[in-house]
């Protein structure tokens, strides 16, 4: 619960002798995982967060074991989970995770993904209070978005952040498992098609 962890298994599998080659490989893996959207999703991120909050308020004492997902519709979209470390109880990204963040940004600049909008989803495990977890995951997802948009110049309209706390457990049979402290990147749709009379969208922020 105290750390939002994104587990990107590709990093663990990738054994490369050279650091730069590894970075490139991992970036390509991110690109591959996020390609191939078939049907875009009309997503209202604040409404989704609100839905999670209302579910918590409706049944604050509900046990987390096998809790159903709050947003089942996200599962069918191209996505991956990545490991990002934060300071405890904080939305401050640890320096150890800067490289992963850089890889994500490199991937989002790849031509295959350049036209797509990405949802950054923060999750926690089921330790601690549900409402607190929901807020912490939202702050952490927002911190990731901020770094992508401001430091790595991903156009702001391409990245949406939402925190779902412990309302979308990856391993609902083990609500406290570390695997639940993950962060997802989900491709949700394309940017609006270009008007050919206008200059390319890449120049806009």
């Amino acid at each position: 619960m105290l750390r939002l962890t994104l587990v990107f298994l590709g990093f663990l599998l990738a054994v490369q002798p050279h650091a730069f080659a590894q970075a490139k490989l991992a970036t390509d893996e991110i690109v591959d995982s996020l390609r191939g959207l078939e049907t875009a999703l009309e997503l209202d991120a604040p409404a989704l967060h609100q839905r999670a909050l209302e579910r918590i308020k409706a049944a604050p004492g509900q046990a987390p074991l096998n809790r159903p997902s709050i947003a089942e519709e996200l599962r069918k979209l191209p996505q991956l989970t990545v490991e990002i470390q934060f300071n405890p109880d904080s939305d401050v990204i640890r320096p150890e995770s800067y490289k992963t963040l850089g890889r994500i940004a490199d991937a989002l600049w790849h031509p295959y993904l350049l036209e797509y909008r990405v949802l950054v989803v923060g999750h926690t495990d089921a330790t601690g209070k549900r409402e607190y977890n929901l807020k912490l995951s939202q702050r952490r997802a927002s911190a990731i978005r901020e770094a992508l948009v401001t430091t790595f110049r991903i156009p702001s309209r391409r990245v949406i952040a939402v925190g779902l706390g412990e309302e979308q457990l990856r391993d609902a049979a083990n609500p406290r498992a570390a695997v639940n402290r993950h962060l997802q990147l989900i491709v949700i749709g394309k940017l609006e098609p270009l008007d050919p009379r206008k200059p390319p969208d890449l120049r806009k922020k």
């Binding site: 970075a23 320096p95 036209e115 901020e146 401001t150």
Partner: protein, 148 residues
């Protein structure tokens, strides 16, 4: 005595004199092609401990980490002090280059990719796969952006 000292020290110095500009060119060519991942990794490797000591509650985004490191410059380790400004500059340069590619390749886009110009990604793919008819300016922009 003086002459023999120069004979010993002078020739490596002269060698260095010729080597340095070459190294600088090499370094700048390298700098142009540093990915975000590589730049971010350099920053974390050089400044991880300094960040924990001076900027622990500070996030990377919106220039906050850069500002914090600058404000605490005097206390930073030599490695971090040397690395952080250059690294943020590399990240900035890469971002600028990426944002500017299609503008700098505008002529090529119109000439070579008018049939596929549905979105930025497809246009960029078209330009990246075009083997002929791409100007030096456009090619340089693609390199600076790390797309090739």
């Amino acid at each position: 005595m003086t002459r023999s000292v120069w004979a010993k020290v002078g020739s490596p110095l002269i060698g260095l004199f010729f080597l340095l500009p070459g190294f600088a060119l090499f370094a700048s060519a390298q700098a142009q092609t540093v990915s975000y991942a590589e730049a971010a990794d350099r920053l974390a490797a050089a400044c991880g401990k300094d960040i924990d000591e001076y900027c622990r509650g500070v996030n990377l985004g919106s220039g906050r980490m850069k500002n914090c490191l600058s404000q605490n410059r005097d206390g930073l380790s030599a490695d971090c002090k040397e690395t952080y400004t250059q690294t943020f500059m590399l990240i900035e340069k890469r971002g600028q280059a990426r944002a500017a590619v299609l503008k700098l390749c505008d002529i090529e886009v119109r000439k070579l990719c008018s049939g596929v110009a549905k979105g930025d990604g497809q246009v960029l793919e078209c330009i990246l796969t075009a083997s002929a008819g791409v100007s030096r300016k456009c090619n340089q922009a693609i390199t600076d952006a790390g797309f090739r």
